[in-house]
Symmetry: C2
């Protein structure tokens, strides 16, 4: 993570409506602008994060190593949204967060901000609202995901986890995240490649027919 020293840009983002909805102006002086390249970790599972982040642009993935040793990709985050709210509320950090694309962030030191945020009805209301929405979509979406075969869930996964260059997440992780055997994942990935939907380059899979993937993913949409 690289901090960016650009006051004008920082000010511009701080004054955007979406940031103002969360943060009281008296915290402005504590914010820093930061950027990440692809595949940088922002939050490490089990470690305390010194910052609360606000994702201005880019995409991240949320993952966790479970007690049984498996790594599961749980979710993906799209700007704008908060990162690190869980740590602000509770103590332990149950997930890791890592950039999928290049990312621009606002970083707010937790020690400076915690008390005023946890006493700010505006911030808390906004956070509740986000969490309620997230829970709602999660609950409904997942209730349905379950009933679709791997090809549909995989299409969705590929779309949300790939960059213009493609997707190079290890297949062991993909299999565990989607809850299927490695063997079966491979079979279905091979199908996508031999159909010409994906192109395989070593460990990287490039999307050729995004349209088709989207149609597979859309079949799962409830709304």
């Amino acid at each position: 993570m690289k901090f960016i020293d650009n006051d004008d840009l920082l000010r511009k983002h701080l004054n955007s409506a979406s940031v103002r909805r969360y943060f009281p102006a008296q915290l402005d002086r504590h914010f820093q602008l930061a950027s990440l390249r692809q595949n940088e970790q922002i939050i490490r599972q089990g470690e305390k994060s010194a910052y609360l982040y606000y994702l201005l642009s880019g995409r991240c993935k949320v993952s966790a190593v479970m007690e049984n040793g498996r790594t599961v990709i749980i979710n993906s985050l799209e700007a704008p949204c908060l990162i690190g709210e869980i740590e602000l509320i509770n103590r332990d950090v149950p997930f890791s967060v890592e950039s999928i694309t290049e990312v621009l962030l606002l970083a707010l030191p937790v020690d400076k901000a915690r008390d005023s945020l946890l006493n700010s009805p505006d911030f808390l209301y906004q956070l509740c609202s986000d969490l309620v929405d997230k829970e709602r979509t999660h609950a409904i979406r997942l209730a349905h995901y379950v009933s679709f075969p791997l090809i549909n869930r995989l299409a969705q996964f590929i779309l949300t986890n790939s960059t213009p260059e493609g997707m190079q997440i290890k297949k062991t992780v993909i299999a565990e995240s989607l809850g299927v055997s490695y063997r079966h994942l491979e079979k279905v990935m091979n199908d996508l490649v031999s159909q010409g939907t994906l192109e395989k380059q070593k460990r990287n899979y490039r999307i050729i027919k995004a349209e088709y993937l989207r149609s597979l993913a859309q079949q799962m949409e409830v709304f």
Copy 2:
């Protein structure tokens, strides 16, 4: 829903630590005690709820009718917890809530309470904390549920959705909630019956070997 006129009991519950954690004392005069029998609706999908509820004892299920017409049981709620928080935050009610067992509730008229709750950092903090926990367990649990065969998920479902008398949820609904075909659900239910784990009485399934169901459900636990 039947309101209960018992000031002593009301006061006793209002003064419990867990209620105090959520609600400021100045709202005390607006609370009413209410009870439900089995299978009464508390919140109707699509309608506005006039009350925010705090579940004191008993169990409820959360369900939704989706755009494709399917009814899905999304979740089950165990006392103590809030019911109706979503409506407090947003406007539309995406789920229905119905009692599984007999239930005791605190009911708080939303019009009287909304403003002060949405300006109370204590309440909002507590709500955030609940939502974060719920999201966390949901995310992780569901990431794993997916990978287990129906028998395990069904065991869990039966345990959380049955009363001492058994479970009489329609099998069409169970099948849709668990994302499997009716046909397959029936096959697996029949297995449980012929094993002697469940006993079928008309439309009602009684649990005979709760231990075995628990062991099936436990295989899915991550923590």
